[in-house]
Subunit: 212 residues, 2 copies
């Protein structure tokens, strides 16, 4: 049975799940969610897919899962890819997935939304500047961690990488410039050099030009 991932191209959180599925070799397909038309706020979406009104949602037969980190965990169990080899490695991966959710992708996704997907006259300048300050601390943490390392955890691509890279390939500006962070830049190239890697707008349906 083909796994379905409810997603849309602009969502870096959906990208984390879609990229894990694509690189794992599992049989999957994206199902477009029209977020910008309010689909995730509809009662049916909340009842059937995710009461939290978010993407991504994975549907595999009777299994319905949300939160990108949960979907990555499921993909790892099913494919044997990107998870930890033992309890210590599993926890180190979870550490970075949690940090990503707490301090990194959460702030990057929000700031990109405010700067690009809100009408120009509704963009809260003080919030954007504040968030960008927080993000610079996070870029510094990740860049320093990648000093002397090819991957965030251990010696290969894991869910830690697939989580933390979620928003970093998008063209929309949110205050991140690869040229400023050479180790992040090299690590992003290492990920995009993986066989089968795709850019979020090539991997999932929906992108800003659809609404232009």
């Amino acid at each position: 049975m083909t796994i379905e991932l409810y997603c849309f191209g602009e969502s870096g959180n959906a990208y984390k799940a879609a990229l894990a599925l694509e690189l794992s070799g599992l049989d999957w397909k994206p199902v477009f969610v029209d977020f910008f038309a309010g689909e995730t706020r509809q009662p049916g979406y909340r009842a059937d897919l995710n009461a939290l009104g978010e993407v991504p949602v994975l549907v595999d037969g009777d299994t319905v899962l949300s939160q990108s980190g949960v979907i990555q965990d499921y993909v790892s169990e099913k494919s044997g890819r990107f998870g930890g080899r033992d309890a210590a490695e599993r926890r180190e991966i979870l550490r970075w997935v949690l940090w990503d959710n707490h301090k990194f992708s959460s702030m990057a996704g929000l700031t990109r939304f405010l700067m690009n997907f809100l009408p120009a006259d509704k963009r809260p300048a003080e919030v954007i500047a504040f968030n960008q300050g927080r993000l610079r601390i996070a870029y510094g943490i990740l860049d320093a961690h990648l000093d002397g390392r090819d991957w965030i955890v251990g010696d290969r691509l894991t869910n830690a990488d697939l989580s933390c890279c979620g928003y970093l390939y998008y063209p929309e500006l949110f205050g991140f410039d690869r040229a400023e962070w050479p180790r992040i830049d090299a690590w992003l190239s290492r990920i995009s050099d993986q066989p089968g890697w795709k850019h979020p707008y090539d991997l999932m349906p929906g992108n800003p030009s659809d609404r232009a």
Copy 2:
């Protein structure tokens, strides 16, 4: 050997780990981290305990763990408490721990910090108001989820509860009022009725009156 938890009273993220340790029955003790004097920014703290410069950090012999969700996972493995009974329940707990990190405690902790622990003339009003709006959505999500449920996942206290409650017992204002959210209010009472429960300022060293 007694488990050590590096923590301080004001940290709701540390409280999540401390409360899991305390209720699990494991032998542990808190080690005070003087966050407000900059201890987590010191090179020694970053080198020996957590390169991310955060609390909590658990030390159990040679094991050093950070991120409250990772520590809770370790406590569950060691004590048999608060984890999932099977893969589906484990993932549902992880779902709420991730949501808490992404949308809830991250925003609550930040907003409480800005409103209470920054000098009055440095508090960014637009950021605080924006965050409070985001938090109201999150309170609504949790309150709705608790309709007809005693606990966030399944029929007992789990790490999902111990994560999401992290900032909700503190006296400092950040825009949360238990009286507005009756299901959250009842659930918080259910948690604090657990044998051995302690308020964060009773469970961990350090509180605002130390600096008054």
